[in-house]
Subunit: 206 residues, 2 copies
DNA sequence: ACCTGAACACCGTTCAAGT
DNA sequence: ACCTGAACACCGTTCAAGT
């Protein structure tokens, strides 16, 4: 609870890295709506204006956070695997990375939509698909489809986590009793399967 | 340019419908970031507090806008078509509906994530898939995957439109020269194809 | 190299009171 | 039934100046 202040330096002079790490902590503890420049400044014992020496604006800060969130989304081993397994591993690793920070998917998808940060996951997914022998254009499109599905699914998932914990879930948000954590994972895997099998079939019929 | 004021009533007394329609006009003309409660009130020649008689908060207003945007997303004829064509038609109609309003995809996806509005497109997509003989759970999951892809793709597309018109496109946002309008449509169709073919193949192997 | 102080131009929301 | 007036508690960003 008091971690936000106690873990940060008491008397100014911060690096760009300090600022980003503190922002990530606020994001994870309080969520994206509470990650304001003023609140971040307070956590660093600094005036809001000081942040603008490190980052030109909030959007750039968020892009940096997106890059950091996504940086840990790498599968353990990729060599020796066929393209299907490689692609599955990449999607699972990315999902885990997004889930590791509160509102992680929203941060990444908002900066991805602007073409700012988070280009790493698209590159990794594209490479995984391309390893199956698909041409560059097809691979990029398939990777984009995978990425949109992942971001949409995990955003949805994290919003529900938040609203569940607040006890303010809207009517019909959880239509049946099957929506446990396991069901979420299966639902995620199912979407990935559709895209991957669609891609495999796409090659066969062409 | 002067349309925002001239088209709205000059002397107060508005209905909930007036408020929503004026909000849609501001959204379409100036975009989501400029759709503020204060600005909406000004366009209606009313104090900001007056809006809270019609809607309990901004989130509810946005959910109403999402429902209206999505309401026009219905294909011309659905009967006599096989499930593949029906599903394709639904996705195309939804895409068109989202593109009809500036930032339409963002409005819909933000309220969809909260489980608030925009349940109609999920229902329509689920029905289209279900017409192929898939069980309810499979259909709902496939429809969710389609919806995530559509919302992600169109959000991306609309952000680019906005940044293009501002001339502030980030480096690498348009990797090659192929990103014309036609390429966007093809890229959209490709993603839908992957999901639909994946679904068809999923039944065959089970 | 990094921060302060002070300001500018905004936000969403509440609530008593008016007609 | 629908709106005003006034306030509360905030925002992101700029910029001259300090050390």
């Amino acid at each position: 609870m008091a971690a936000t202040e106690s873990a940060s330096a008491r008397n100014a002079r911060h690096s760009r890295d300090d600022v980003a790490e503190t922002a990530l902590r606020i994001l994870d503890e309080y969520g994206l709506p509470d990650l304001t420049m003023r609140r971040l400044a307070a956590a660093l014992d600094v005036q809001p204006s000081a942040l603008y020496w490190h980052f030109p604006n909030k959007q750039t800060l968020l892009a940096e956070l997106a890059d950091r969130i996504v940086a840990r989304g790498r599968p353990e081993a990729t060599d020796g695997l066929d393209w299907v397994q490689r692609t599955r591993d990449e999607t699972a690793a990315l999902r885990d990375a997004l889930l590791a920070y509160r509102d992680g998917a929203e941060v990444v998808s908002s900066t991805f939509a602007l073409g700012l940060g988070a280009s790493a996951p698209l590159a990794r997914l594209t490479a995984a698909v391309e390893s199956g022998g698909f041409d560059a254009e097809t691979s990029r499109r398939a990777a984009t489809a995978l990425l949109h599905f992942i971001l949409g699914h995990v955003s949805h998932e994290q919003q529900r986590l938040q609203y569940d914990s607040l006890g303010v879930l809207a009517d019909g948000a959880t239509p049946d009793a099957l929506d446990s954590d396991g069901e979420q994972t299966d639902s995620f895997a199912f979407g990935v399967t559709l895209l991957v099998e669609g891609l495999a079939h796409h090659r066969v019929t062409r």
